[in-house]
Symmetry: C2
Subunit: 145 residues, 2 copies
DNA sequence: ATTCTTATTGAAAAATATTTTCAATAAGGA
DNA sequence: TCCTTATTGAAAATATTTTTCAATAAGAAT
C-alpha cells in the first residue's frame, strides 16, 4: 500500500502540498528540516506554504510514512519511512541516511534492565551514526582497530 | 571527580548560574527543558538569566556532565549524567528518567549492519521508554503478555 | 585583604522556529 | 457540474534560541 492509498484509507485527501513534500523527501538521500523541504519545493517551482510543510510532516509522521531523525544538534529532520520496524544510520560527514531493519533483538538487553529498574519497557529509540562508504572513500577514512 | 573539579580542570569558573542549574537538575527526577530549569531556579529564589541556562547546558553537555533526552515531541530536556557510558529509560506517564549502564553489547547488531550498508558505525543513540514501577502501581498497569 | 585580569553574566534586541486563525480554495464524492 | 468540507496559505501571534555588549564577579596574583 502506497502513501496515497494510506491517505484514502484514512479519509484524507491527496493534495498538492502533500505530493510535493513526499516528492522532495523521495529525491533526498538525507533527512530534511521543514525549512529545507520548503526551500527545495520552491526551487522545484512548486509553491507551497511553509505551514503546510509543518502540517504535512506532522500528519505523515502520525501515519508512520515519515520518521524524524535525531541528531547531535538538530532533531527536526525527516526522512521517508519504509513500512515496518526500521531504524536509521546516518553519515556524520555527508548526512546521508539509510534504514536498517529492526530485526535486531534487543530483548536480551531489555530483560536485565527491566529487572533492575522495575520499568516495563515498550518502546525504543535506536540510531547509529558513522561514515558512509562514499565518504570513507572520499576522505580516506578507515577503521581504527 | 565532581563537576566543580571538572570545571577547574578546564580552566572554567564555578559560578552562581552554573551552581543553580546543576542544583535544579539534581533535585529533579525528570529531564527538564531550559525554560523549566529557569522557572525552577526563580522559584528557588535564585535569580539567574535564561541565557545563562542555555549557555550552561551547552557547556555541561560539552563536558559530558549532562545529557539531552530525546522524546516523541520534546528533544530539549536535560538530565544530569553519570560519568561513563549510560543511556536513559524514561517513563511515558510521569516522565521520570533513570540511567542504565551502557554495558550492553551492540556489537553483535553492528557487525551485520556494517557489512550490509558499508558504513563504519562509531556512535549510537539508544533510549528506552516505558512505565516506571510507581506508575505501574498507581495506574494498575501490567504487562500485556 | 586588595588589586588585577578576564571569563562570565544578563538585559535587550535580533534572529529563528513554530503555532494559531480564518477566509479562500480545491479534492473528491454525489 | 455541483456540493460538501478537508485543506491551504497569508498574516499575526507565540515561542525558542542566539547575538551583542557593557557590567560584574571568579579566582589568581600581589
Ligand atoms: Mn528496533
Ligand atoms: Mn550504548
Ligand atoms: Zn531528538
Ligand atoms: Zn557520507
Amino acid at each position: 500500500m502506497d502513501w496515497q492509498e494510506k491517505l484514502n484509507q484514512e479519509g484524507l485527501r491527496v493534495t498538492h502540498p502533500r505530493r510535493v513534500v513526499i516528492s522532495v523527501l523521495e529525491q533526498s538521500g538525507t533527512p530534511l528540516s521543514p525549512q529545507a523541504i520548503h526551500r527545495r519545493s520552491l526551487e522545484a517551482k512548486e509553491e507551497i506554504g511553509l505551514v503546510s510543510v509543518y502540517r504535512t510532516l506532522d500528519l505523515l509522521t502520525e501515519l508512520g510514512l515519515v520518521r524524524r531523525v535525531h541528531g547531535q544538534n538538530e532533531c527536526q529532520c525527516y526522512v521517508l519511512a519504509s513500512p515496518g520496524h526500521y531504524h536509521h544510520l546516518v553519515c556524520q560527514h555527508c548526512g546521508s541516511a539509510v534504514e536498517f531493519s529492526g530485526m535486531e533483538d534487543l530483548s536480551s538487553l531489555l530483560a536485565p534492565i527491566e529487572l533492575e529498574t522495575g520499568f516495563t519497557i515498550n518502546e525504543h529509540l535506536l540510531q547509529f551514526s558513522g561514515v558512509c562508504p562514499e565518504c570513507q572513500r572520499r576522505t580516506g577514512y578507515h577503521d581504527q582497530e
